[in-house]
């Protein structure tokens, strides 16, 4: 069964990046999404077992599938407005992001955490060395932009902080 959240994500990806056609294939399924300007994206999913069919033209049946096909995805929020007034904490290095000291500990920071310039907001690990990343600004964390265990590149935005 195709994950509807995945499909919605695919559609959003297409609109954000102005793609006209997206074709994904793995061992279980093939998904093709085509988009024409001014039209709602059409979704054609072809899983390995043809008995489970999901098409944009289906009336009734699976409620979620129907709504995904019929409703055009909302336009993505303009990036500039959503970051207005916020300061980004960027990575000074390449490595893997860890939100907490170890898997059992609470995260260093989350939306609402009050931070100062020397406050450790996360760890970035490279070559088995864990580096404490400092906020570099006084304020409150508004958004966490990355996930625990994610690969991070130099200059990548990690957090958005509302400065005090």
């Amino acid at each position: 069964m195709i994950d509807i959240r995945k499909l919605k994500e695919l559609v959003r990806l297409m609109v954000d990046n102005d793609l006209t056609e997206l074709n994904l294939q793995d061992q279980a399924e093939t998904v093709t999404v085509k988009r024409g300007y001014g039209q709602a994206p059409m979704i054609h999913a072809a899983p390995v077992h043809p008995s489970v069919a999901l098409g944009a033209t289906r009336a009734g049946g699976d409620e979620e599938a129907g709504s995904a096909a019929a409703t055009p995805p909302p336009p993505p929020p303009p990036a500039a407005d959503s970051e207005a007034g916020l300061v980004a904490v960027v990575s000074p290095m390449v490595g893997t992001f860890y939100s907490a000291a170890n898997p059992d500990s609470p995260p260093f920071s989350a939306p609402g955490t009050v931070v100062s310039t020397e406050f450790t907001v996360c760890l970035i690990e490279a070559m088995k060395v864990f580096n404490e990343i400092k906020a570099g600004v006084n304020g409150t964390v508004e958004r966490v932009l990355v996930q625990n265990g994610q690969a991070i590149e130099y200059g990548q935005k990690l957090f958005l902080v509302r400065p005090s």
Partner: protein, 446 residues
């Protein structure tokens, strides 16, 4: 074969390696500095990772950042390209420590052939012709003077740890020699952190001839014949060609075979180039060994039909060399023109900035190795080479004619380039005869 390779380089060579990976079904991960963020060739890699700010020291020369990128991208191997970290044994060692395959020699083989003094020793053992000169770093002036007397002036004082023309002084008599030893040593200490110097016989009017070799991890090695790179400016090559004009296979074969023995002796696997100076009598004297792929590798690829970059990747992955020496045949002649973003009319001043018009040549026998497209912005932080125009034809005369034809089609605006200089050199009498020496271009430009 590797699943994924990280390319620790930029520009045209990064694109060259991306292409080889793509053809072999290997995923490519390319690092980049902030100055290269918008470079179009990055989109041709499967993944691109920003590793630092524009300065090379904090990006392409930064071992920690590159290894970190290799780890997060989960690669099997790293290709260092040329320049940057490609000849740093500590980088090859760092790769080994992190269990990532370095596409090149072991740190030990690289260090041995990269050190001029150790390399010369190994070369003698392998039967590679070397410069008569001091056997090791010099003890004192008197030793230098007596060695110079035996090999005959002029001699050249060179830094043991150096290269690229620095720390070098030509001496035509003993007085000059004694004066130069002190200053050369001081300069070497400042530039390379090592004040050791040695002396060699100096050749006037020599040509630069180099042998391409490649070996696998099983001790097999072959040569891919030679290249002539005599057109140089400030020790930087401007035009390269293969094979060397007027050089018979009988004359070059023993030298090429000795170069093969040298890399086998040093237990060297991967691509290497053995550089020589050749005098008017076609005697050869080894300069140094470059333990990496070279900028001018395409001319050898064109005349032999062998993909050097793919072969490097294959041997690094543990495959046997797919060619025996008898499989290496020369067909025709190839010339490479290094196109730089420089203004020849203003002492080759670098020309960074946007390229609004980029009309490269095409047609039969014309190969363009470049990362530049229309709209590309040449960054100011790195070297000025923006393209390599490689031309192949049935013989040297037709190759020169074809190169002239291609250069005429090549239009770049608004930045100045060395295209017009290359056009002039294709018409040059000495170049057409093939008798230019390594100082000819500089004399011509004066």
């Amino acid at each position: 074969m590797f699943s994924r390779i990280l390319i620790a380089n930029r520009g045209e060579i990064a694109l060259r390696i991306i292409r080889a990976c793509r053809e072999m079904g290997v995923e490519s991960v390319c690092v980049y500095s902030e100055a290269d963020r918008d470079a179009p060739y990055l989109k041709l890699a499967d993944q691109a990772i920003c590793i630092g700010p524009p300065s090379a020291k904090e990006s392409y020369l930064n071992i920690a950042r590159i290894i970190a990128a290799a780890e997060v991208a989960n690669v099997d191997a790293i290709h260092p390209g040329y320049g940057f970290l490609s000849e740093r044994p500590e980088f090859a060692q760092a790769c080994r420590d992190c269990k990532i395959e370095f596409i090149g020699p072991t740190p030990e083989a690289m260090a041995r052939l990269g050190d001029k003094v150790a390399c010369k020793k190994a070369a003698k053992e392998a039967g590679v012709p070397v410069f008569p000169g001091s056997p090791d770093a010099l003890e004192d002036e008197d030793e230098a003077a007596s060695i110079a007397a035996s090999i005959g002036y002029p001699v050249i004082v060179k830094a043991s740890a150096g290269g690229g023309g620095r720390g070098m002084r030509v001496c035509r008599d003993e007085a000059a020699l004694r004066a130069s030893l002190k200053s050369a040593s001081t300069e070497a200490q400042a530039a390379f952190g090592n004040g050791a110097v040695f002396i060699e016989k100096f050749l006037e009017n020599a040509q630069h001839v180099e042998i391409q070799v490649i070996g696998d991890k099983f001790g097999s090695a072959i040569h891919l014949w030679e290249r002539n790179c005599s057109m140089q400016r400030r020790h930087q090559k401007v035009i390269e060609e293969a094979p060397s004009p007027g050089l018979s296979r009988e004359k070059i074969r023993p030298v090429a075979e000795a170069a093969v023995r040298l890399i086998q002796l040093a237990k060297y696997h991967g691509a290497a180039t053995c550089e020589f100076l050749m005098d008017a009598e076609q005697n050869f004297y080894m300069l140094e060994v470059n333990t990496r792929v070279q900028v001018e590798h395409p001319v050898t690829e064109e005349i032999t039909g062998i993909d050097i970059v793919k072969t490097m990747i294959r041997v690094a992955a543990g495959e046997k060399l797919p060619y025996a020496q008898k499989d290496v045949q020369i067909r025709g002649h190839a010339i490479e023109c290094r196109i730089n973003a420089e203004d020849p009319a203003r002492n080759f001043m670098p020309q960074p900035g946007p390229v609004s018009k980029w009309e490269p040549p095409g047609g039969p026998g014309v190969r363009m190795d470049t990362h530049v497209v229309t709209g590309y912005v040449v960054p100011k932080f790195y070297d000025s080479m923006i393209a390599k125009l490689i031309v192949h034809a049935d013989d040297r005369e037709q190759c020169i004619a074809r190169t002239s034809r291609a250069l005429r089609e090549f239009k770049v605006e608004p930045i100045k380039t060395t295209i017009a200089l290359h056009q002039r050199l294709m018409e040059d009498e000495l170049f057409r005869k093939g008798t230019m020496d390594i100082h000819y271009l500089e004399r011509l430009l004066k």
